[in-house]
């Protein structure tokens, strides 16, 4: 690790000021992507802005037909949240599949979304559910947020405050892990809402998370795994590495999407409850 100055602001405004003041500053949430990168000397921020002392950045809240989750909410809190499990069980399932238990105790929603690792899980949920990223400056629709591998619509001094997930009638997430890293080789989040059906894929794309319109069309006719039978996507533009060729990933997208739909179909239709819950 290179030397840096450590900051612990107590408000979002202070944190944003630090980002504005130092060009080479980085935000530290759970640190489970940034710190390993810094240890390898692949990232060298001169200033590290630890968000952990800022109140109000964590917690899970049900508001009408959506769930709002604070940026510093840890994966374990999303995975265990009664509100999420009741209303959006696929999201709780997704959170329970990130990393390992110790990683889930530290890693945060905001950190994952800000980093936009092409093999991370959360981006698939945001895109499939049509979530909204709320920052200290504005609201960004997921459709406009993800800009490719490790790229997002965030401006340099912009800080994610929370993410709002619309509740879906049916949703499912299935992940086929990279056996070594445990990141998604292919992860598919399928969501059926009254307005639309979306299929979002993480892990496979060379350019990060993406939707599969052909699958969405097929599922519109009938929301059943059978609708995706034999469907696949073109291998072009998909990741290809020692763990699997682009062709293999293209094939897996079809298989895993089918399984995600099956998982969605199996979950009981969500009855919306208004019980508030404070994220731990």
């Amino acid at each position: 690790m290179y030397a840096f100055t450590f900051h612990r602001p107590t408000s979002v405004r202070q944190a944003a000021n630090l980002l504005g003041k130092h060009e080479d500053a980085k935000l530290l949430a759970g640190g489970h992507t940034l710190l390993p990168t810094m240890k390898m000397r692949l990232a060298a921020p001169a200033h590290l802005v630890d968000l952990s002392q800022i109140e109000g950045l964590s917690g899970i809240e049900l508001k009408g037909r959506s769930i709002s989750i604070g940026a510093l909410t840890k994966h374990v809190e999303v995975a265990n949240s009664d509100v999420v499990k009741r209303n959006l069980p696929a999201l709780a399932e997704l959170a329970s599949l990130i990393g390992d238990p110790a990683v889930r105790h530290r890693g945060t929603l905001g950190g994952s979304v800000a980093n936009n690792d092409p093999t991370a899980d959360y981006p698939a949920a945001l895109l499939a559910l049509g979530a909204t990223v709320v920052t200290n400056k504005r609201k960004i629709a997921a459709d406009d947020y993800f800009k490719g591998m490790f790229e997002t619509a965030l401006e340099p001094d912009e800080i994610i405050v929370k993410v709002t997930f619309p509740i879906a009638k049916k949703a499912g997430y299935v992940k086929f892990r990279n056996p070594a890293s445990r990141y998604a080789m292919v992860g598919v989040f399928v969501a059926k809402r009254s307005s639309e059906i979306r299929v979002a894929v993480t892990g496979a794309g060379g350019n990060g998370v993406f939707r599969v319109p052909a699958f969405e069309e097929a599922l519109k006719k009938r929301f059943s795994p059978k609708s995706l039978e034999g469907l696949t996507i073109p291998a072009e533009g998909l990741n290809s590495d020692i763990h699997g060729s682009a062709e293999y990933r293209a094939h897996l997208v079809g298989v895993i999407a089918k399984r995600a739909v099956a998982a969605a179909v199996e979950t009981p239709e969500v009855a919306v409850s208004d019980a508030p819950e404070n994220g731990a």
Partner: protein, 166 residues
């Protein structure tokens, strides 16, 4: 160098550290608590697992400064100064859940965390899934799984304060 203060195994500790000091380095080098190990540099092996505020974390992926004000528990805190072994420690010995011993402190700290979260009646499959972040090269996990199942049962009825010895 910034100062850091935290509670480790029930004792208040302070130190001046380079900001880039990891919690595991602070424990091993500053406090000489060398039971917490480093087995990888990609946050995967779990040899460095300690508890922060009662939850298992990888101390190689936490800055010492991030743990300021926290309650940290390490393997050395489970049965300090010749106190009777924690039931999970005893279960690892009884079930031959260790060979070279290098992954063991992290395994035991993770195991206690699993019990704290999921209770005392653990199925083998659950234990295997929960050990996703702990790598052992010696045992083939067979006896670790047995040890954790037995340790979980033995932890039942233990006074709450002793569950993780924060």
């Amino acid at each position: 160098m910034p100062a850091v203060a935290m509670t480790v195994n029930g004792k208040s500790v302070t130190g001046d550290v380079d900001a880039r000091t990891l919690l595991v380095q602070f424990l091993r080098e500053n406090l000489r608590l060398t039971g917490t190990h480093v087995g990888c540099d990609t946050s995967q092996c779990g040899a460095c697992v300690v508890h922060i505020d009662g939850k298992a974390v990888k101390s190689c992926t936490v800055l010492a400064l991030q743990a300021a004000g926290a309650q940290v528990a390490t393997i050395e805190g489970l049965a300090p100064n010749g106190a009777p072994l924690h039931p999970m420690q005893a279960a690892f010995r009884e079930n031959h859940g260790l060979q070279c011993g290098y992954c063991t402190p992290g395994m035991i700290m993770s195991a206690i965390d699993i019990v704290n979260r999921l209770g005392h009646d653990l199925e083998d499959k659950t234990i295997r899934e929960e050990l996703e972040g702990n790598i052992c090269r010696c045992t083939g996990y067979h006896n670790i799984v047995k040890a954790i199942a037995a340790g979980a049962k033995a932890m039942q009825g233990q006074p709450a304060g002793q569950q993780a010895a924060e």
